[in-house]
């Protein structure tokens, strides 16, 4: 492969750009995380190492009620979102995959639309929906959860469907051939084979929910429905302490842990290539 080794040829130039990009991409965040451990109140001047903003007596994630509640609410929404979106999405994926005849194309498009709709459009639509049509539910936690489910659903469907396609119809046929009635074909064969995809899609839904902003903000009602994202947004203008960095860091750790979990589960059962496509959000 001598053509790769051009002296000062394309590869080196590209290497610089790539390296530069990665640094540009990652360094600001690393700095932000670093300052979460700052000993003083500044977010720009280093004053020594400390975990006070995480666990300290005052103003920390653990002890400041605003921060703690935001984190709690974020996790609550994520749990509800996963609990609703996962079964709904798995069922939709199964149904879509095996749909015979007309309508499947339309449903498929319907399912994909939330993925390409800008969030503000969804935010406005859902806001008006809960203000003017479903006033009984109104804004707040329920609305936020519903809104989140609505677009995480599509991610679940896409992931599960990918797995369904690679599993193929043969195992169920074999099960039927061997005497298993419909229900057993599903519970004894299909479900075990789908399990990694279900788990992975739940984890992805969780991660997406945690980091969601627009829809969650639009459907919030009062301070009790604040999430970490919303907190980050609203505090940016004030004079925030590194506690903001701290809570962002906590959020980040949770997201990455969830993602890593999903990746590993998938890789263990379905192979590396499929696992990578989950992580890269093949959308």
């Amino acid at each position: 492969m001598s053509w790769l080794r051009n002296p000062w040829g394309r590869p080196r130039f590209l290497m610089l750009i790539t390296g530069g990009y990665i640094l540009w991409s990652v360094v600001p965040v690393l700095l932000a995380i670093a300052f979460a451990f700052n000993n003083g109140r500044s977010r720009t001047t280093w004053q020594g190492f400390s975990t006070r903003w995480f666990t300290g007596e005052t103003g920390s994630v653990l002890h400041d009620s605003a921060l703690r509640d935001a984190l709690g609410h974020t996790l609550l929404l994520a749990v509800i979102c996963v609990a609703v979106a996962t079964p709904l999405g798995v069922a939709l994926a199964l149904g879509l995959q095996r749909w015979r005849g007309r309508g499947s194309g339309t449903v498929n498009t319907l399912m994909l639309l939330p993925l390409v709709t800008p969030e503000i459009v969804m935010g406005v639509a859902l806001l008006l929906l809960f203000l003017r049509l479903f006033g009984g539910i109104g804004l707040g936690t329920d609305a936020q959860a519903i809104g989140q489910v609505t677009f995480t659903l599509s991610y679940v469907v896409v992931i599960v469907r990918g797995r369904l396609v690679s599993i193929g119809p043969e195992y169920e046929e074999a099960a039927a051939d061997l005497g298993a009635p419909r229900r057993d074909q599903f519970s004894r064969v299909m479900l075990p084979l789908l399990a990694p995809a279900i788990v992975a899609s739940a984890a992805v839904a969780f991660a997406i929910s945690i980091d969601d902003f627009v829809v969650t903000q639009y459907l919030s009602s009062d301070a009790s429905t604040t999430t970490v994202s919303m907190l980050l947004y609203s505090s940016a203008r004030g004079a925030p302490t590194p506690a903001l960095n701290a809570i962002a860091t906590v959020n980040l750790v949770i997201t990455l842990a969830t993602l890593t979990f999903a990746y590993l589960v998938y890789r263990r059962f379905a192979g590396r290539e499929e696992a990578t496509s989950i992580a890269t959000l093949e959308v």
Binding site: Y21, I120, L129, P169, N251, A279
Partner: protein, 305 residues
């Protein structure tokens, strides 16, 4: 195997959910936009299409037609998005290409570095920049020290030293690039990675130089990926408001998303806000369906077993 209706029934809950909380929600937008306002300036939707009141929608249209603020904002948005996408392409393609083709044993690590930003909270990433670009921020100092600040000042891209966050279009555009470029690079990386190496080997075998092979084989084959990536980031950019809000103190850099946000959450003109949302959606509809058409999942593969 199985009756026609079993699987449709299984899919039903999901379909119902999407129909209600997506389709119906969108219909509410229509009903509000073509509706009215009550004495408290709250929107009154007109559910029946025959009842629709085109007043507010027309007013909004007139705003565009007569060069009003809406038109200014929209043009600015298009400008921002166009430049941001172009920059993303300029920076992103080489990175994606390198990662896919020349990364060698570092491919995994680079891929990881490309994936991670995708999953970091968008706001956290933006705030990191806000922090850096603040007058006393590290970033501000670095840019000053490297002479980049001077360059931008001379080029008219920056109004005053250290004033990165004072409502500079440059900052907003660069922030948009920063925010969305991971969503561009990754699919592009996958697309380029998927190009069968044998095509390139064949080209080389037939006498093409490395550069020629790139322009005549790799680039054309990666074109679909490029287009898809551009559309993929353009869509959310058109609806973005939080980026401009965070990195710019002035409303001079407002995008259409900001306008809608203002009308919906801060002002009391939800009807106009709905109308604008409608226009934005119509504008983007073409892009949305184009994207769905060209990605793998858009097509249904009828299983005929």
């Amino acid at each position: 195997m199985g009756s026609r209706w079993t699987w449709r029934l299984v899919a039903l809950p999901g379909v119902v959910w999407l129909s209600v909380f997506f389709l119906l929600a969108f219909y509410v937008v229509l009903a509000v936009a073509f509706g009215n306002q009550d004495t408290l300036s709250q929107p009154v939707p007109h559910w029946n299409p025959l009842d629709w009141n085109v007043g507010y929608v027309l007013d909004t249209l007139k705003n565009f037609w007569h060069g009003g603020p809406f038109l200014k904002v929209s043009l600015r948005t298009v400008e921002f998005v166009a430049i941001a996408v172009a920059l993303s392409l300029l920076i992103g393609y080489p990175v994606a290409y390198f990662a896919a083709r020349h990364a060698g044993r570092w491919k995994g690590a680079i891929l990881l570095a490309l994936i991670v930003p995708l999953w970091i909270n968008y706001l956290m990433r933006m705030l990191a920049w806000v922090n850096l670009l603040a007058p006393d921020g590290i970033g501000s100092d670095v840019l000053h020290g490297l002479g980049i600040e001077k360059l931008f000042l001379t080029l008219g891209l920056l109004d005053e030293p250290g004033g990165w966050l004072n409502g500079q279009p440059t900052t907003v555009i660069l922030a948009l690039v920063y925010g969305y470029i991971p969503f561009f690079i990754l699919p592009l990386f996958v697309a380029i990675d998927r190009i069968d190496r044998r095509h390139i080997e064949a080209a080389r075998d037939l006498g093409a130089s490395a550069r020629s092979a790139f322009f005549r084989v790799t680039l054309p084959l990666s074109l679909p990926g490029i287009l898809a990536g551009c559309v993929l980031i353009a869509l959310p950019m058109f609806g973005d408001y939080y980026t401009a809000d965070l990195v710019s103190a002035s409303t001079q850099t407002n995008m259409i998303g900001n306008q809608i946000d203002e009308l919906m959450r801060q002002g009391s003109e939800k009807v106009t806000g709905a109308a604008l949302t409608l226009f934005l959606s119509l504008f983007l509809l073409g892009l949305m369906f184009y994207y769905l058409r060209t990605t793998r999942r858009a097509g249904t593969t009828a299983q005929t077993t």
